[in-house]
């Protein structure tokens, strides 16, 4: 059944973390800066300022590479709580002006403005109000590129075409002409690997992609071929999904300060991560029925990482689990069963899945009762004094610093 045409806005904050730092500190304005993790020397550039981008610095580049390309770059350790607050602030503006809001990442959101704007002129007015309110409520240095179109695919591509502070409208009927002005990789969903695959088929433009039959695309890309077929014609998802849905998993990963061989070191970081995941499960009223663990090696081997999946029958929990220590015991056994002890570990991660909601069953065993009471007391301390309120004695020398990541903020997780 055909659905009514929707009007979607994609707002993409320009050089987001770097712009927030430049807003807070005028001394950084007009200069090439790179926002990094807490340790600038073993980190990547999470966001480059527009000045740094002009000089060739790219997001996710190692800091040593950025320094090599741009020796004058100022590396600023990220401040996720600051960015989190500004993210809340601009999403509150978006929420005021839209029927539905989807947080696509920490610095990108989709707004369904079909009802509030009524038509494309109204959508342009909404975009202008967004720009004014961003200036007034977040600061003059914090800007967004805005794309308006009938679906999320086109709106996002539109916002990408004019940075910074751009406003691009793809009017109904102009979709194909707009797509023909885009590169293949301007579409969210076509990455370098797909582009190379398409190039082998003789396809280097979206116009050429439209000439490929659906059968060929399905044969080459399986079900993803159908998405490519539709995307080349400007067809895509127009449903803006709110934040109401429960998460499918709760996870956390961490790059170690130094590559590590010693099981004791790896165990400590993993336990710290499991405690964080356990706290988040309990805070949000979830229990996990499965767990998977992940490591990445630090040596330059072709196989850089391994995921150990505990969601299979033998590693699935019979009862839901929300305790960090219980998660750790399974996660560590998964890692130990597949880890190559001769290779150094750079990153360790855990994900708790198959989440269920429900009250905790009271154990009949005194030891488990005592543990549960202690965990409840620690949770009260965490709520009252924050996540640094307590730590295990064994983890005193293993601090886990907050990341400045692209998809979520640790302190909100």
């Amino acid at each position: 059944m055909p659905t009514a045409r929707r009007i979607i806005i994609h707002a993409d904050m320009n050089s987001y973390f770097a712009s927030v730092e430049q807003q807070a500190n005028p001394r950084l304005r007009g200069k090439p800066i790179g926002v990094t993790g807490k340790r600038t020397e073993r980190s990547v550039v999470a966001a480059a300022s527009r000045e740094a981008k002009k000089l060739g610095v790219k997001t996710a580049m190692f800091t040593w590479e950025a320094k090599k390309i741009c020796p004058s770059i100022i590396l600023v350790p990220g401040d996720p709580e600051k960015y989190g607050e500004i993210t809340e602030r601009f999403n509150a503006i978006f929420r005021d002006l839209s029927d539905k809001l989807e947080r696509f990442s920490v610095d990108e959101s989709f707004l369904d403005v079909t009802e509030t704007a009524r038509d494309y002129l109204g959508a342009i007015m909404v975009a202008q109000i967004i720009r004014r309110r961003l200036r007034e409520e977040c600061g003059e240095w914090i800007t967004a590129s805005i794309g308006i179109a009938r679906n999320k695919l086109l709106a996002k591509a539109a916002s990408e075409t004019m940075k910074p502070d751009g406003l691009v409208v793809v009017k109904p009927g102009d979709e194909i002409a707009f797509l023909d002005s885009c590169d293949l990789q301007d579409l969210c969903g076509i990455g370098p690997r797909t582009a190379r695959h398409l190039e082998r088929l003789g396809v280097t433009t979206l116009k050429q992609l439209r000439d490929v039959t659906l059968d060929t695309l399905l044969r080459e890309f399986n079900s993803y071929g159908a998405w490519l077929y539709a995307a080349a014609r400007g067809m895509g998802d127009d449903e803006v999904v709110g934040d109401e849905a429960d998460p499918k998993s709760v996870g956390h990963s961490y790059t170690l300060p130094r590559d590590a061989y010693a099981p004791k070191t790896i165990r400590r970081y993993l336990l710290g991560l499991c405690d964080k995941v356990g706290w988040r499960l309990r805070r949000d009223g979830f229990k996990a029925r499965s767990v998977s663990a992940f490591i990445r090696y630090g040596d330059p081997s072709t196989s850089s990482g391994h995921r150990f999946d505990g969601s299979g029958s033998e590693h699935r929990f019979r009862e839901g689990v929300d305790d960090g220590l219980a998660l750790f015991r399974i996660a560590w056994s998964l890692i130990e069963s597949g880890r190559d002890p001769d290779r150094p570990i750079r990153l360790v991660g855990i994900s708790a899945g198959t989440l269920t909601r429900g009250a905790t069953q009271v154990s009949l065993f005194p030891k488990e009762c005592r543990t549960a009471a202690a965990v409840m007391a620690l949770d009260r301390a965490t709520r009252r004094f924050g996540s640094r309120a307590w730590t295990r004695a064994s983890l005193l020398t293993t601090p886990i610093l907050e990341r400045t990541s692209g998809f979520a903020y640790d302190h909100e997780l």
Partner: protein
């Protein structure tokens, strides 16, 4: 010059439209007039709400911390020429 610190300071503020705006501050025996408020953001330390004010006078950029429970201001960061 960039300096991080944790020094208690005196701050004169205005309360307007439910907003707190630093106007003058005294730090290490010197007084500074706040000319611009660049950014205000807040964090939660457990139940405690802490505000950070990034402000500037003519020659310096400061980051001030206001603990709303202890009602205490601190200088936590300073940028200056030279």
């Amino acid at each position: 010059m960039h300096e991080t610190c944790d020094d208690p300071i005196d701050v004169v503020v205005s309360f307007t439209d439910g907003r707190v705006t630093p106007r003058r501050l005294r730090w290490r025996g010197r007084e500074y007039a706040v000319e611009r408020v660049n950014l205000i953001h807040a964090t939660n330390e457990g139940e405690r709400r802490v505000f950070y004010f990034s402000v500037s006078d003519r020659n310096h950029d400061f980051k001030l911390r206001l603990d709303t429970e202890a009602l205490q201001w601190k200088m936590v960061e300073l940028y200056a020429d030279g």
